[in-house]
Each structure stands twice: as structure tokens, then as C-alpha cells.
Amino acid sequence: MAESFASLALVPKATEPLTAKQFKTDQEVRWCPGCGDYAILAAVQAFLPELGVKRENIAIISGIGCSSRFPYYVDTYGMHSIHGRAPAIATGLSTTRPDMSVWVVTGDGDALSIGGNHLIHAMRRNVNLKILLFNNRIYGLTKGQYSPTSEEGKITKSTPYGSLDHPFNPVSVALGVECTFVARTIDSDRKHLTETLRAAAAHEGTAIVEILQNCDIFNDGAWAPLKDPQQRDEYLIRLEHGQPMLLGSNRAVFREPEGPMYVAEITPENEADIVIHDAHTDDPSTAFRLSRLSDPVVLSNTPIGVFRDVQRPVFDRQMAEQIDEVTRKLGPGEFDRLLRSADTWEIK
């Protein structure tokens, strides 16, 4: 069996190793042929056995959208809920059931538009949820309207003359609300995707993973430069904690003193100034600057990997501890005593 995850300490362990096949359901998968969701599903099904926990102690909660069909295809407990509300529902489950490993599967519209409020509050509280945000920069299920991550000027059915909205960068949003684990990965990079899932699963508290995902029907090629083996290395900054942030053949990330980050050619003079990635620093502002490096349209300088991974008390655990603490102090609740907590009188 693989390593045991500290974040799953309260979740019952599987007695024998599970296989990817055991996480497949008998339901026919109904995404469009070529959808990036297939790759993510396969990666997740292959990864879940690594958690080393019982299948019945995993729950996947989703909202509405193409990605939210995900729970139907994974043979664990699961709920396909309503648009945007998965983080709230998952919070209710996670805070009452420390023996469950709770995952949220959502999309850019579900998480960042209709469900934006629940997403930011789950991250602020640091609920023990693993949130997989499939970002394809489009509304797929409603057949192609721009989403809150679409680039400005997007031509869609609802914006025939171009969208006016300035997009969210999901990683910047998560860092802005001090989410304790923030990462980005790509649907088609199975190895990187699996590594990122592993890091997220190991994290205690909220982990959000933005998965850049392709909708081949309504927004094909949205992430093309990042996925094309010929050119992706010129676009991607692969983040590794403790390692210099390099890009392409001879470029790297630098930082103005206390100022923004930028990408430049490496020279003998500046080589020593290449920024070393530190995912564990408490202050989210460095990671935030890193998240601002990429260009939302041409996608140059796009970091992938773990931006931030820090420790902060986990909401679920604090809630349980507070109950224990009050119970120790007051003694277990006695109903009759509760009724008599105000002045009483006897009628004979």
C-alpha cells in the first residue's frame, strides 16, 4: 500500500489494496467524445487507491455543469447537487463526518460564478475539502456561453460582439482568500495531474486544484499552447518547492525588490537572483505575485504545480474540539437539567 496520508488520519484504512477498476461504476460515461474530463476521471480513479482508505469512506460532491457529472462515474459515496452549492453541502458533510474523505468536483461557472460565495468561504474557513476545479473557460452544459474565466472579448452565443467581463484567475482568487493549499495542473498531463492530486490529498484543510481542461466542442484549444508538446515548455513554469523557477531553454522568474515578479533571460549576472519557489511560506503575497505572471490571453508564463501549501487549524477539527472542550467543562448534556436551567415552580 502507498504512503499513508496524515490528512486522512481519521478515515478508516482499507484492509487490502484497492484498484482503479473498483472505483468505476456501471454507469455509462456521457461526456462528449474528446472531452478533457475523461482524462481527469481516469487519473482520479487510478489515484484513489493510493489514499489507502476504504472506498465507503470517500464522498464526492459536485454542483451542476459538465464536470459535476463526475460523482456518477466513481464508485464511492457521492452527490450531484445543485448549481454552485457543492462547497456548502460538502462543508456540512465534512464537519460532521471526520471519518470521510470529502472531495468537491466543480467547474469554472459552478465554482466561480454562481457558487463563488461558497467557494471563498470554504477556503477561508479551511474546511477539510479537496476541491477539483475543472477550468475550460466556457459554459459547456448550456452550450457555449462565456464563463468568469473566459478572456475579455470572448465571442460566444451570449456575447456575439465580444464579452465585456474581466476574467477571474482561479489561483489568484484562492490565494486572495488565503486558501491553505492552491495548485494548478493540466488534464492531459497525467503524471503532473496525479502528483498534484497526491499533494492535495496529503494536505490538511482545504486544497483547491485548478485543472486546465479542454472543452473540444465549445472552446477547443483554450489551453493549446500549454498542452502542445512542441511549445509547452516555452509557456509553462513547473513549480517545485525549493527549486528555482525556470522556463523554456534559458528563462527564469525574477522579482523586483518587494515588487512584482517577471520573467527574463538568464545571464551570468542575474543567475543568482532566480526566485526559488517556497510553497510553505505563510504570507500568501509571494504566491499571489506568482499567480499574476501569466498572460490571460496568450498564456505565456503560466505556472503549474503547487503555489501554496501551508498549515493552519482545520475547521472541522476545531469544531469537534470545541464540542469536546465544552463537554469536558460542562459535562455531557442532560436533558432534564437543560429544562430546569431557568427558574421553575411546582404546581401540586
Binding site: 454507469q27 465507503e56 447537487s81 460538502a90 456540512g92 464537519t95 404546581i347
Partner: protein, 619 residues
């Protein structure tokens, strides 16, 4: 020489003052004394929506009404017999409620030109004869309090603060109330401030002595204890009773309680109360919004908790889509709507019953949800237990309707015994429940043949992994199904499940002592008290009238139609524009008449009496 004692059968007192005058506290303490004395009683606070309204203004007036008697009390009372007004604003705001001949105790210190003009009194009502039909006692409550506290080292302002205790002392004397409970309360409250404690006790004492010695009052009164059922009693508000009912249901079912809630008047006190009782394993989650309140409750219900969300009308509107999800998932969730005046923000601190149709129909699609309505403050306890019982047994969201008047109103409560409450059995499914070709499988939507409830399956149960969702499910397997006939079947099954609850709930409450009344006055929720009081008065006058009351509004009790058709006429008083009436007329083709009121205040029994007399005289 002690003064003459006059015995009364009932009194209605209204304490009124500026928000900062401590009138709610005075009322509470007078109530505690009265409860301890053994009178039956009912109370109603009436306070402004503003937290600190400008001093001395009409919208800063905070009032507290108490009705107590030597017999059963059903309402906080129509027209008070006594008004204690701490300033001109309190007089002006309440004088319209007072019966002719009522006793007015007015704090003359505050009737200054400036204070009078602030509320539009251009002449002093103490002098201009405008109060001539009342028994007016202008007493310098503030300065007499300050005089009484001369020996204490207090500033004038500090001493003035005790004027509410002076007033309490005076009223306690006037109505022969023991002051022990007030003393105990003060000792507890000011245990760490001995000087303030001594001053307040002295003010209480001085108020009492003033009554005894002054020539203003030639008599004082006594109201004999009523003779309720033997047992141990306490005084309780509707919101606290609701919170206790939820805890009782948690204890009875063995299910830990989870409350997902967003603060909203007048429901927030339920959250406050439950948050205190974590030692019962209660989890309270103050959500980011109303939707997350129910969302988290649905998640907790899925996880096998006794899940609750509390709110008022605007919050129900926000939760509607999620309530529909709970209907589709068939999970037990208790949704509490403490109704207030609407629409929109409406009247947050005033009462209304205008959410009945919202909770009945306010969702997309055919989305039946059982509705339980509490009928008095203490009854909120039983109603909460019943809502939980139905939710768990039928795997369904259930509405519990209370309202602002019940939530903040209070009455004596005979303490219940846990063992006498109905059992609540979660009955989680632990193994596959269906067989296909000799193989045991799970069918998450296979129904109990009697109740039509589906199994409740706790995540973590091995071998029962399954997925549920808001998309229509195939009967039995629960798999996604867009098949037309299956949808038709599922819609009818969910409706039949809720309708079937009628089989096992008590018949409609009917009070028809002679059994031959021709008029049925039918109520629901908090109109129980005023309708009952009205019927009582009329019966004493020889009028034959029956009272009917609906505690379950969806489904209606099984005998509803039969009862309605027994009476020649049906009158339905409601604090809305006729919502129950619409349902009754629509469902039973009964030509029910409507008596409606949406004035932010409960019905007065006189309003109902007048309506009944009108109906009877028109035959």
C-alpha cells in the same frame, strides 16, 4: 395601616419606555414573579427594529405586554388595563391600545416640553384633559428613584438607571406579587458589582414602599393563582422552546444535531440558544448565507445527522432551490421559518403568517413538503419534535412554521418528560436491500411499502456506495433517468409519500362543547390563542361556536373534509390575506369565509368575536 385588597380575575399590563429604559427586563421580572405566584400567563414583547433608535422618539419605544389570570390564559391580551409609560413617546405609542378606564402610570419627570414636542404633543397630556377617560397617575419615577438612592455613591445618571426597578417595586406592590425572584435575578446579574446591586435592591424596595404609603393608590389588587395541571413549570419563549425541541429530538433519535443557519430576525435566537449547548453534541454552523445554511444541513443529513436550518421568510425564498434538492434526494432536513411581515425585508420584528403558500408551493416542479405549525410559544417544543419525527420517518424535508409573536412571546410550560415524547428511529440501512438473480444489491430508492420512504444510508457503510442527485432518478435503482413514464411515477410517489403522513397523525383539533355549533372557526399557528379566547367569551354569552385548529398543514389531517362538511359555516382568521382559506376552498370545495389581518400584531380576540357575531347575525 394596610390598604384594601381588591380581587381581580385577570389583568393585562403593558410596560413601555425608551429602548434604553429596561422595560423588557422589567416585564420579564414581573412575569417571573407572576409565574412563581402561580398565575397562568402569556407575554408579548414589542420592540423596535432599530438597535439604538434616537432617545425619546416614537420608533424607539420598546414595550412588553403581560396577561395573567386566575384561569387559563390563551393570549397576551387585547386591551391592556394598565400602562406603565416611562416617557411621552411610550404614552403616545401605546395609548391607542388602552381600554377606557385603564390605569396609566406615567413618569412625569420625562414629560418636559422638549420631550413632548419630540413626539408631537403640543400640549401636555397630563394637563390638557386628553386622558380624562383613563385613571391617570403621574408619578415622578425618575426623581423619586434618585431620592431613594441618595445614600449611595452614584452619579445622578447611574441612579436614574434604577428607575425601572422602582417601577417594578411599585407594580409588584400594586398587584401583590412576591419580589423574591426579582431579588434573586439582581443578585445574580450584579454579583460582581455590589454597589449597583444594593442600589437596584433599594430602588425595588422604595417602589414597593411608595405604593404602600402614598395616598395616590387607595387600593391594591390580588389575582388568585390559577389551577393548572400539577407538575414542574418554567416560563419559556417560542424560540427557546423550538431549540429545546430540536435537542429533545436529537436525544430521542440518538442523532447528533447539526444546525446550518444565517442570522435573521426573528429566528436568530434559536441559533444563539443551540450554540450554547455543544455538550449535547450540537454542531452550530453560522453559514456565509441562507443557501449555505440549508446546503450545509443537506450535507449533514446526507452524513446521517439530525439536520436543521432556521430562518424567516426572506431566507426561505433564498433556500427554495436547495429545499427542492432535499425533496429530490429524499433526505430528512428540518426547515424552520419564524415568519415575519413581508414581502421583501418587510417588518423584521413584527409578526405575520404570510409564508404558508410560500412553504407549500414555493419551489419549482411538484415538490411536496410536510408543514407543521406551532400554536403557542411552549407548543414550539412539541412541534419541533413532531417535525423531526416526520422528517426522519419519511426521509423528507419538513417545514416548521412559527412566527414573530410565538418566537418572542412566552408562557408557563409544564416540563415534558423525555420518555413521554414520540420515538424517533433513524433506521439506517446497513446492507443491500434488493435481490436481482440471486445477487444482493442496493436500491437506494426502493421504498418502504407502507410509508413509501426510501432507505437512509449513511456514507461509510460498506457495500452501499451509491450516488444521489437532483436529476430525476429511476424508481428503485436511483440511477439517472430521463424516461417520461418514470418521471410521472416518481412525481406521484413523492406526492403520495407526503400525503400518506395523514394516516398516522391525530385528527383535527376540534373544540365544540355542545356539539351542535353551526359555525366552525378554523385556525392554524399562532391564531390558536385569540380564536380560543374569542370562542370562550362568546360561549359565556350563550353563542354556539366551534374552534378547529390545524397543526399539520401538509398534508391536512385525514378527517379534515369530514369535519369541514359538518358545519354550516366556516370562518378562517389568518394573519395574511387568506392563504389557508385558499387551500381549504381549493381542496375541499368548502365556501370558507376569511378574516384577515396583516398589521404586524396578532389578532385581538375582540376582532375575532366581532367577526363571528357578524357571520352569525348574517346567518
Amino acid at each position: 395601616m394596610s390598604k384594601q385588597v381588591v380581587t381581580l380575575d385577570q389583568v393585562i399590563i403593558r410596560f413601555a419606555g425608551d429602548s434604553g429604559d429596561g422595560m423588557q427586563l422589567t416585564g420579564d421580572q414581573f412575569t417571573a414573579e407572576t409565574a412563581a405566584y402561580g398565575n397562568d400567563l402569556s407575554t408579548m414583547p414589542d420592540y423596535p427594529a432599530e438597535i439604538r433608535a434616537p432617545q425619546g422618539t416614537l420608533h424607539g419605544v420598546s414595550s412588553f405586554q403581560l396577561h395573567f389570570a386566575d384561569h387559563e390564559v390563551l393570549t397576551p391580551g387585547d386591551s391592556p388595563n394598565v400602562l406603565v409609560a416611562m416617557n411621552p413617546a411610550a404614552l403616545k405609542a401605546n395609548i391607542g391600545l388602552m381600554a377606557p378606564g385603564a390605569l396609566l402610570i406615567l413618569n412625569s419627570d420625562e414629560f418636559t416640553k422638549r420631550n413632548l414636542e419630540k413626539v408631537g404633543y403640543w400640549a401636555n397630556p397630563l394637563e390638557d384633559g386628553s386622558l380624562s377617560k383613563f385613571d391617570v397617575h403621574a408619578i415622578a419615577l425618575t426623581s423619586q428613584t434618585v431620592d431613594a438612592l441618595k445614600e449611595f455613591e452614584l452619579t445622578r445618571k447611574e441612579a436614574e438607571r434604577s428607575k425601572n426597578m422602582y417601577a417594578l417595586g411599585l407594580l409588584s406592590w400594586l398587584y401583590s406579587r412576591p419580589t423574591d425572584s426579582a431579588r434573586q435575578f439582581l443578585q445574580k446579574k450584579f454579583a460582581k458589582k455590589p454597589e449597583v446591586l444594593a442600589a437596584n435592591l433599594a430602588a425595588l424596595e422604595a417602589g414597593w414602599s411608595f405604593g404602600e404609603t402614598t395616598e395616590i393608590f387607595s387600593v391594591h389588587y390580588e389575582i388568585k393563582p390559577s389551577s393548572p395541571k400539577p407538575g414542574t413549570y418554567r416560563y419559556i419563549t417560542g424560540n427557546i422552546a423550538t431549540a429545546y425541541g430540536l435537542i429533545a429530538a436529537s436525544v430521542k433519535s440518538g442523532l447528533p444535531l447539526f444546525l446550518g443557519s444565517y442570522p435573521i430576525t426573528p429566528a436568530t435566537d434559536i441559533l444563539h440558544e443551540l450554540a450554547k449547548h455543544k455538550n449535547f453534541g450540537v454542531r452550530t454552523f453560522q453559514a456565509e448565507d441562507e443557501i449555505a445554511g440549508i446546503g450545509s444541513a443537506i450535507g449533514a443529513a446526507y452524513g446521517g445527522m439530525l439536520a436543521v436550518t432556521t430562518t424567516s421568510g426572506p431566507g426561505i425564498a433564498l433556500k427554495s432551490e436547495a429545499i427542492g434538492l432535499a425533496v429530490a434526494l429524499e433526505l430528512p432536513v428540518i426547515i424552520i421559518d419564524v415568519q415575519r411581515g413581508g414581502p421583501s425585508t418587510g417588518l423584521p420584528t413584527k409578526t405575520e403568517q404570510a409564508d404558508l403558500l410560500q412553504v407549500m408551493f414555493g419551489r419549482n416542479g411538484e415538490s411536496p413538503v410536510p408543514i407543521v405549525a406551532a400554536q403557542s410559544p411552549a407548543d414550539c417544543f412539541n412541534a419541533a419534535v413532531e417535525a423531526a419525527r416526520i422528517a426522519v420517518k419519511y426521509r423528507t424535508p419538513v417545514f416548521l412554521l412559527t412566527d414573530g409573536a410565538l418566537a418572542n412571546g412566552a408562557e408557563p410550560w409544564l416540563l415534558p418528560k423525555l420518555e413521554e415524547l414520540p420515538g424517533i428511529d433513524p433506521d439506517f440501512l446497513l446492507e443491500p436491500n434488493h435481490e436481482i438473480d440471486g445477487v444482493q444489491v442496493l436500491w437506494p430508492f426502493k421504498r418502504d411499502p407502507e410509508t413509501l420512504a426510501r432507505p437512509w444510508i449513511r456514507p461509510g457503510t460498506p457495500g452501499l456506495e451509491h450516488r444521489i442527485g437532483g436529476i430525476e432518478k429511476a424508481d428503485g435503482t436511483g440511477n439517472i433517468s430521463y424516461e417520461a413514464n418514470n418521471h410521472d411515477l416518481m412525481v406521484r410517489l413523492r406526492a403520495a409519500k407526503v400525503a400518506g403522513i395523514a394516516r398516522e397523525v391525530p385528527n383535527m383539533f376540534i373544540d365544540d362543547p355542545t356539539g351542535d355549533a353551526e359555525l366552525l372557526v378554523l385556525g392554524w399557528g399562532s391564531t390558536y390563542g385569540p380564536i380560543g379566547a374569542a370562542c370562550e367569551v362568546l360561549r359565556k354569552e350563550g353563542v354556539k361556536v366551534a374552534q378547529g385548529h390545524l397543526r399539520l398543514l401538509n398534508p391536512f389531517p385525514a378527517d379534515t373534509e369530514q369535519v369541514l362538511k359538518r358545519y354550516k359555516q366556516v370562518l378562517i382568521p389568518e394573519m395574511n390575506l387568506g392563504q389557508l382559506s385558499l387551500l381549504i376552498r381549493g381542496k375541499y370545495l368548502v365556501d370558507a369565509m376569511s378574516l384577515t389581518k396583516v398589521a404586524g400584531q396578532p389578532f385581538k380576540s375582540t376582532e375575532i368575536i366581532d367577526a363571528i357575531k357578524g357571520v352569525i347575525s348574517n346567518g
